[in-house]
Amino acid sequence: MSSHTSPLRTPLVTGGKTYHDVTHDIARHVENPPNLRWLAALTVSLLFVGIFMYSLYRTLWFGIGEWGLNKTVDWGWDITNFVWWVGIGHAGTLISAVLLLFRQKWRSSINRAAEAMTIFAVICAAMFPVIHMGRPWLAYWFLPFQNTFGSLWVNFNSPLLWDVFAISTYFSVSLVFWYLGLIPDFATIRDRAKGPIAKRAYALLSFNWTGSAKHWSRYEYVSLILAGISTPLVLSVHTIVSMDFATSVIPGWHTTIFPPYFVAGAIFSGFAMVLTLMIITRETFKLKDYITLEHIESMNIIITVTGSIVGVAYITEFFIAWYSQVPAEQYCFINRATGPYWWAYASMMTCNVVSPQLFWFRSLRRNVVFTFILSIFVNIGMWFERFVIIVTSLHRDYIPSSWVMYSPTWVEVGIFTGTMGIFMTAFLLFAKFFPVINMFEVKAILKSSSEPGVFPKRKPSDTAAPVRQAVSPPAGAGVNYDKEQ
């Protein structure tokens, strides 16, 4: 990363932190025993995981007839949730990759958690395409195996197959990217670790990292290239997800605007979710100096922008429907806004288009509580967006005789809330055992972008003698260093 910064820029890390403070503040949570609040949170999330398990059992044992789907609406909450989670999963890689390319230094203290969130969200998302199948135990038929009778392969024309490749690629690459970032920090924790288990565990996790200059130089190239390829990857994933709908013939689905519109929406919801989580983490782990109002504000700005893009997309859809002069198309959109599912459409509009506009006020932009509430609103809105696109397009499509209504059963609801439990559980475990903030990156920007005066530039001549006194460890400690392991 370039070491250039403008002196006018407000500090990204406040509170006059030194390198060691950074290490200490962040590693502390990993080293200390879990606090009660954390345990309580974990219990609650595990409860939801339980709900998920039961709903899943009902679904797999009796069949997806347990859901509210019918002959006309064959996708409901399942795919809505799928798209919603994938969307959330976009912020992480976006923050680490795109912002890295754009040299946005403020990303350093949030990218770790954001990436973790990506991973967990994608896990939640990836479950739905499998459990929404009639025969999930045959899910492996999605992979290009020959079938039992010979060379019947998969259908590369099907957007659903593109999804398989896109999601799995996105997941694994994000995972690699994330873990690569963790290696140096694991090394830090390893070198601070006291207990034998912790020592060995983190030694394994840290992949023998020593932080030598040669490694660092390769390491930086690797992360840069990863960022380079992850950026189009992020965009491609939601593009392909949007193609599930865009390539179909159903009015309200068959829309060329979908790829950019979906990507914008994904970033929108992703950032909202990052905010939600970061604000919680910031409060519970006392990391106000690392996740500053500066961060929150920049993210709020992105939310406002993407929110407005999504809004424009909504309006464009209507215009095109009118312009196309296709009756079914026109009816589809009128029906969205005024039909039996108008309430879904209304909630989508208020949450996604109206509410982010409040961020034009700086005071609200920098108001943590308000931001927190609004970030949740945005995610509700984005869930409704997917619901509107999927259900209201399907329930009244071409042939009026087949028009129906759709409402979920408790099993579907259980599965959805269950995935939230899984997501939270995973995130809590991460927050406890992994460094939630990327220590080495923060250190790298510490000098250039923290408050002035912490790092007095020292002349080699006045190399502090007292320092030498300060260090008077037992003789031979250094020599015995190896033997003590």
């Binding site: 006309t72 064959d74 009639g134 259908n155 659903l160 179909s248 042939i399």
Partner: protein, 994 residues
């Protein structure tokens, strides 16, 4: 256990041990313990054991039965080849409607009913009831043995008991049956009567036509709609349920099929209280209250014959003027039919037809399918209660389906001997001391004469599954004769021709008549009739009772196919309801699904409301045939029994209540009705196209609207802007042409498809969840009132008196199928013969194809529908499974399914042709739906064959009536529809979006 049964069966068959063959004769081998009837009380395991043995026995026995004295339909070797289906000509008549059928039998099991093309009456058409009748054969609820006081017994004891008790019977010996049109059975009854002097035979029909019979000298006039250019129906649903719908539908359709040179169509006027199938297909329809139907007849009489008429409301008057004028203009080509069981009306109608010169032209040989005499039945019930009847033998279910069922039940207590011939211990049989179960018609030999001079033979497809015996045979036994009924029937037919040929054809038409019908004079004079009919109608709310096309009078209530068949008009299943016109519902603040109490003739029913466009103002309608209590686990407690509401007039039963009808809101929670269609208008879309005869005559190229796409080179037909080079289908290219003019919406195709393709029944709740499985559905749309374009609210509400249009919709087998593109695992692909084929074992069930299907014809197996207690229908028991078609996979849970254009039939046809080293002949391969259609509305064929009828039809209709549904999205379906043409003034169709 399944395995062991199979092995055990197979082993026995292998052995052919005389022991087994002996056991095969009596259904329940003595070495197996059996307590309680048909397995109840024994463990399920035992029951299945027994059943398994039964199947083995049946299968084995049936292997010989037909071979001994029946000739396969096609010229097949007389030995039965496994996996090769045989067709046996037979006849379907269950006291209600008559259909000449072919029984498709596979490995000794009847599995499908087809129409018999040789029949001069039904012309190879069938009805939903006839199609479903094959499932009735495998009904668990049927009696497995003769019963004495509800306990299993054997024929020896039963016969002994009954003979001796009959001999000592004091008072009359009464036999109560439905209409009997079997000469041999009548002979047997006569023989029985000879043995017991004070014998009395009473026939009655649940949906009675006794007035019609009385007014026409003892028989139903032989209406021939094919000869009528103008038809007026007064409350007669002759296309749906009245007398002989299959026959009438074919006849009527002949006058509705458009020829391109000099196009002619008959015109149908309908006056009715409910929205019936006939009304739905009428060109001019006027809704009148039940009490006004006689007035309509009187008014028509006045206009045609003369005399003082009565005046009705404006629409009715206008329709009457038009009708009368056209009837008169069409002397000898006109026909008036009346469905009300009211002697006055029928007398006048007979007069009108005479005046129109219908007799001998549009009215031919009389029909015998209705002989019931209401007066006689009512009298018998009185006699019974007076204790003057010593023995009652009943082969019908009056306790359920007669308005005086209660009294009949009381009367039974008085009789010394009560015997029932019903096939199960139903409402009536349960009250009888003896049950001598009659065999199913597919197990029986019999003969029929549905129309004077039209003989028809009934041939079994299998020997009796249970220990049952045909009614005539029982009577003969008790009359002391030991004649074998097969020989008995043969004797009846002596000298009528080559017996083998007759058995092979199933029908005979030599003019010879075997039935003797005693002619009766009309007790009512025309003048009396006129004054009676003109009597002023009631002013209060009136109740019309009607028969549903599917369930009929409720005799087959335990048949899940019929229960789940959507009613052609209401699209309701599994229940009856109060059909109510919108204004009344609004006035009473009722929403669809709210419960109301309907009281009439001292009975009160509580039923949900269904808002029904076309229902006559100030009247409601309730279907009969529901609310069975002893039909079996499928049919019991479905809806409510409306028979007690029937009005008992002087000597006539009127399926209506014209006075003292009360309707009140019941405080019961609103329910969702199990309808398969809940949106009733086309929303101004080009889904269905219709026009008028006038327009068609002016310019055939104007009647259909073809969408064009805007391109840089100006508007183009969607097909012309295709992205890709299309595939050529060189060998075959299967397709269908569906003539919306001929389709009357009777739904026979739906059931035929269900039987052919093992389509599961899902039950009421799953229909409410919108998950019915029918592969071919009939969409029914009502026209809406005139409205501004894009006024969607107006579009959504049907007119109160709408026009109706039906559209059979199945998989369109698109050549650019959206479903194929999106399947990730290639479970649905296109065949080289243009079929969109579904590979069940490859399907993983993403349901993406169903979402992406613009026609919404794909059906998903949400649950496992076979071997699943939650879906306890025919696919959940060994007996019911015998109806399954071995050529079609039973789909597993979690896979998608849809119409395959009966690919199994196509393959068979190709193989047969191949064996004979030739190409399949056009018409040789027919899909189940096309075969069953009584009006030949569906034409299936090879579009690659230049000489096939379908190719010709498409060439002829190109850019005229031929259109594809949703042509604009260019999915290029292989199913083509022909624009519906109505024979109405153009002005009227302004309302109808086209």
């Amino acid at each position: 256990m399944q395995e062991t049964i199979k092995y055990w069966k197979g082993y026995e068959e292998l052995e052919q041990s005389p022991e087994f063959v002996r056991q095969a004769q009596n259904e329940f081998p003595d070495f197996l313990p059996l307590n309680g009837e048909n397995g109840e009380g024994t463990s399920r395991r035992d029951f299945l054991k027994l059943m398994g043995f039964g199947l083995g026995a049946a299968t084995l026995a049936s292997c010989e039965a037909p071979v001994r004295n029946a000739i396969p339909w096609l010229n097949k070797p007389e030995t039965l080849e496994p996996t090769i289906a045989n067709y046996y000509a037979s006849s379907y008549f269950t006291g209600n409607e008559y259909v000449a059928v072919l029984v498709k039998s596979r490995d000794g099991r009847p599995i499908k009913i087809e129409g018999n093309p040789l029949s001069a009456i039904t012309k190879g058409g069938t009805s939903a009831k006839a199609q479903a009748s094959v499932l009735g054969l495998y009904d668990e609820a049927r009696a497995h043995n003769p019963l004495v006081k509800g306990k299993d017994s054997d024929w020896k004891t039963v016969d002994g008991e009954i003979r001796q008790r009959l001999a000592s019977a004091s008072g009359t010996v009464a036999l109560v049956t439905g209409t009997i049109i079997s000469p041999s059975t009548k002979r047997a009854i006569a023989e029985f009567a000879g043995r017991y002097p004070n014998f009395r035979h009473v026939m009655y029909d649940a949906n009675s036509a006794s007035a019609l019979v009385k007014a026409n000298g003892g028989a139903v006039p032989g209406y021939e709609f094919a000869k009528a250019d103008v038809v007026v129906s007064v409350g007669a649903d002759f296309l749906g349920t009245w007398i002989s719908p299959v026959e009438y539908a074919w006849h009527w359709a002949q006058k509705r099929k458009l020829k391109r040179e000099n196009p002619q169509m008959s015109r149908l006027f309908a006056f009715e209280s409910i929205m019936s199938l006939t009304g739905a297909n009428a060109d001019v329809r006027a809704a009148v209250k039940p009490s006004q139907l006689p007035q309509v007849v009187a008014a028509l009489y006045a206009r045609i014959v003369g005399g003082a008429g009565v005046t009705l409301d404006k629409t009715a008057e206008a329709a009457l003027d038009k009708a009368a004028e056209e009837l008169k203009a069409a002397q000898g080509r006109a026909l008036v039919v009346c469905g009300t069981n009211d002697l006055a009306s029928q007398t006048l109608v007979a007069e009108i037809n005479r005046a129109l010169g219908a007799n001998g032209t549009t009215i031919g040989a009389p029909s015998y399918v209705r002989q019931g005499d209401d007066a006689a039945m009512l009298d018998l019930i009185q006699q019974m209660n007076a204790g003057r009847v010593g023995a009652v033998l009943v082969a019908a279910n009056p306790v359920y389906d007669h308005p005086q069922g209660k009294q009949f039940a009381e009367g039974l207590k008085q009789a010394g001997l009560t015997v029932s011939f019903n096939d199960r211990s139903d409402e009536t049989a349960a009250l009888c001391e003896f049950l001598a179960p009659d065999a199913h018609y597919l197990e029986s030999w019999n003969d029929f004469e549905p129309k004077k001079g039209f003989l028809s033979l009934q041939q079994p497809g299998i020997t009796p599954l249970f220990n049952t015996r045909q009614l005539p045979e029982s009577l003969l036994r008790w009359a002391g004769s030991n004649a074998n009924y097969y020989e008995y029937v043969k004797a009846t037919w002596k000298g009528l021709g080559n017996w083998d040929q007759i058995v092979h054809d199933g029908v005979l038409q030599t003019g010879a008549s075997l039935l003797t019908i005693t002619p009766q004079a009309n007790p009512m004079s025309v003048s009396a009739a006129l004054s009676a009919a003109s009597a002023s109608a009631g002013s209060g709310i009136e109740l019309a009772l009607y028969e549903k096309v599917g369930l009929g009078t409720g005799a087959d209530a335990n048949n899940p196919w019929l229960q789940e068949m959507p009613d052609p008009i209401t699209k309701g299943t599994w229940e009856n309801y109060v059909a109510m016109p919108r204004p009344m519902a609004v006035e009473m603040k009722l929403e669809q699904g709210d419960f109301v109490t309907v009281s009439a003739n001292g009975t009160t029913l509580t039923l949900p409301v269904l808002v029904q466009p076309g229902q006559a103002t100030g009247s409601v309608a309730v279907a009969i045939g529901y609310g069975r209590t002893a039909a079996g686990k499928v049919g019991d407690k479905m809806g409510a029994n409306a028979f007690p509401l029937v009005t008992v007039g002087d000597g006539q039963l009127m399926l209506a209540a014209t006075s003292g009808v009360k309707i009140a809101k019941a405080d019961q929670k609103r329910i969702e009705l199990a309808q398969t269609q809940t949106h009733h208008t086309i929303m101004d879309r080009l889904v269905i196209q219709e026009s008028t005869l006038e327009k068609y005559r002016e310019n055939p190229r104007e009647v259909t609207e073809y969408e064009k796409l805007a391109t840089s080179e100006g508007p183009k037909a969607p097909g012309e802007v295709s992205l890709w080079q299309d595939y050529e289908y060189k060998n075959h290219h299967w397709g269908m042409v569906i003539d919306l003019n001929s389709c009357i919406g009777c739904s026979a195709c739906t059931i035929a498809c269900q039987a052919e393709n093992n389509v599961p029944v899902v039950g009421r709740q799953e229909v409410v969840n919108r998950r019915e499985m029918h592969w071919i559905r009939i969409d029914r749309y009502y026209s809406e009132n005139p409205h501004k374009p894009k006024d969607y609210d107006a579009m959504e509400t049907p007119a109160d008196q709408p026009m109706v249009v039906f559209q059979p919709l199945m998989c369109q087998h698109c050549n650019h199928a959206p479903c194929e593109t999106v399947c990730p695992v290639l479970a649905t692909t296109h065949s080289t013969e243009g079929l969109n084929q579904m590979t069940y074992n490859r399907c993983v069930g993403t349901k993406y194809c169903a979402n992406n299907c613009p026609y919404k014809v794909r059906r998903f197996n949400w649950f496992s529908y076979n071997d699943n207690e939650k879906f306890d229908f025919n696919q959940n028991n060994d007996l019911g499974k015998m109806v399954l078609n071995p050529d079609v996979t039973v789909r597993a849970r979690g896979v998608m399914e849809k119409c395959s254009m009966c690919v199994q039939r196509i393959q068979l046809g190709k193989l047969d042709a191949k064996k004979e080293k030739r190409r399949p002949v056009d018409g040789e391969i027919v899909t189940a739906c096309a075969q069953s259609c009584p009006t030949e509305a569906i034409l299936f064929g090879d579009m690659a064959d230049p000489n096939s009828r379908i190719t010709k039809a498409l060439k002829e209709q190109h850019r005229e009536r031929a259109f594809h549904v949703l042509e604009a999205i260019n999915v290029q379906p292989n199913v083509t529809y022909l624009t519906k043409i109505r024979n109405v003034e153009t002005a009227k169709t302004a309302e109808v979006p086209a």
